[in-house]
């Protein structure tokens, strides 16, 4: 058996464990990004001027600074200045989540703006407060329409998560690098890492597609299928 293949087979369980770490980081980031992203989107669409401005500045900042800079900024900078002791794993989730929130907010904002305005009006005409109308009428629809964009965001965050190896989080990339530098089997091992990312992308996108189908509003036709 060629040496490369042996190296991959030997290292595979170790790499698989790494993919669990990757999945945990990505899920943590996506979910915290979802919560914060929804708040930002609602603030940007319905908020008063200062709220809108705050949301805009947030999005501008977290979309504008590179991931690696933010990781170092938070891990070695901010949290140590504030004397908060967090693991690299936690910081990775926080930073990826903060960035994803900026992107997700724009997905949700687009979805909210695409809804017919009249439904919000009708909800208020029934006596709902703005908050109720947003929670029960606007968001259930906007979140449905956001799934395709969210799926895209998932695949981006998944790939971005490879960068957190710079903090020493033992995810796919860190483990691959660790084994490769010891066995010198760079090509087969990085191919294996790439394969793991492809599988995770496939599974995640597929799962979201199923969710999209499951929550589809009856009678709404999909473009192209009629």
């Amino acid at each position: 058996m060629p040496e490369g293949l042996t190296a991959v087979i030997t290292a595979f369980p170790y790499l698989l464990q790494g993919s669990l770490v990757t999945v945990a980081v990505v899920l943590g980031a996506m979910v915290s990004g979802l919560v914060l992203g929804v708040l930002l989107a609602v603030g940007q669409v319905y908020g008063r001027r200062p709220v809108r401005l705050l949301a805009r500045v947030y999005v501008w900042f977290f979309r504008g600074v590179p991931l690696l800079v933010l990781l170092f900024l938070f891990y070695f900078g901010l949290f140590s200045v504030l004397d908060i002791n967090l693991s690299a794993f936690t910081v990775a989730i926080i930073v990826l989540g903060l960035i994803s929130a900026a992107y997700q907010s724009q997905i949700f904002r687009g979805a909210i703006l695409s809804l017919p305005e009249g439904q919000f009006k009708a909800a208020r005409a029934l006596g709902m407060s703005d908050l109720k109308a947003i929670s029960f009428i606007v968001l259930p629809q906007a979140l449905r329409f956001s799934i395709p964009g969210w799926s895209n965001e998932y695949s981006i965050v998944l790939k971005d998560s490879a960068v957190v190896f710079a903090l020493g989080v033992a995810e796919i990339m860190a483990r691959t690098h660790f084994v490769a530098t010891r066995t010198y089997q760079y090509l087969p091992l990085y191919l294996a890492a790439g394969f793991l990312y492809l599988v995770l992308t496939f599974v995640g996108v597929k799962a979201l597609r199923m969710v999209e189908e499951k929550v589809r509003i009856p009678g709404y036709s999909r473009p192209g299928i009629g």
């Binding site: 439904q119 909800a123 208020r124 029934l126 006596g127 509003i217 009678g219 709404y220």
Partner: protein
């Protein structure tokens, strides 16, 4: 004025930028009356109706419901007021993600705080009233325009409104669907619902309206009993408009 008007609107003004859409409109309606707003598009009918329940915030003007003045700065009062003033829109505005039954139920549960079972029962009753109980689990996208409008009427009725505002409820419908919606509204009239309705349905208005209010350019130009308005309107403009509308829509009694 101590008449027994259920809803009174005074001196509503609204400008969008430099365009004065409403230039001081006042009206009042007594219990069980149907008042019809007529006039060319751009006259301000739709803005007036939306100002009456503050979906559009008027620049000036006051509203009294059953004799008490609404303080709209108090959110709680405003929400309570809106519950009592039902609104029907030209393009239905059903909640697309909810089936017909849930469209009616959601206000009962989330606004009135009814228990789920009680809300369901009430919602079903309202659907029956508009003849759609067999469509309870259809989603808006699965309903015809006429059915959607009937669901939206049921949704408003479920809140037990004291007054209903109808903003051209049949204008977005195909001609063959107008009848079923008018039938429902006719039924409301028969049951004594108080309504202000913007419409071009001349036959319907002549037969059922207590008063026709003719608006143009953000003002009430003329108002009076429907019989009088159609036969010998005072202003030349009103007569011309009515003639045009009759010619366009025919005499659909």
């Amino acid at each position: 004025m101590a008449d027994e008007s259920i809803l009174k609107v005074e001196n509503i003004r609204k400008a969008f930028g430099k365009r004065h859409v409403l230039k001081g409109v006042s009206l009042s309606i007594r219990k069980g009356e149907l008042k019809v707003l007529m006039g060319p598009s751009g006259a301000g009918k739709s803005t007036l109706l939306q100002c009456i329940n503050f979906l559009v915030t008027p620049d000036e003007g006051e509203v009294w419901l059953e004799g008490s003045r609404l303080n709209r700065a108090r959110k709680h009062d405003l929400y309570a007021y809106r519950q009592q003033v039902g609104m029907i829109f030209q393009d239905f505005n059903l909640f697309d993600h909810l089936c017909a039954l849930d469209n009616i139920e959601i206000g009962l549960v989330r606004v009135k705080g009814l228990h789920k079972d009680a809300a369901r029962e009430r919602a079903m009753g309202e659907l029956e009233r508009v003849g759609l109980s067999d469509h309870a689990h259809h989603y808006p996208a699965q309903l015809s325009g006429g059915q959607k409008q009937r669901v939206s009427i049921a949704r408003a009725l479920a809140m037990d409104p004291k007054v209903m505002l109808l903003d051209e409820p049949t204008s977005a419908l195909d001609p063959e669907l107008i009848g079923e919606v008018l039938a429902v509204i006719r039924n409301l009239v028969a049951n004594g619902m108080t309504m202000i309705m913007a419409t071009h349905q001349i036959g319907f208005s002549r037969a059922l309206a207590d008063e026709i209010i003719f608006m143009e350019d953000g003002q009430i130009v003329e108002q009076g009993p429907s019989v009088k308005m159609f036969s010998d309107a005072v202003s030349e403009r009103t007569r011309a408009f009515c003639a045009k509308i009759s010619e366009l829509y025919g005499e659909t009694f």
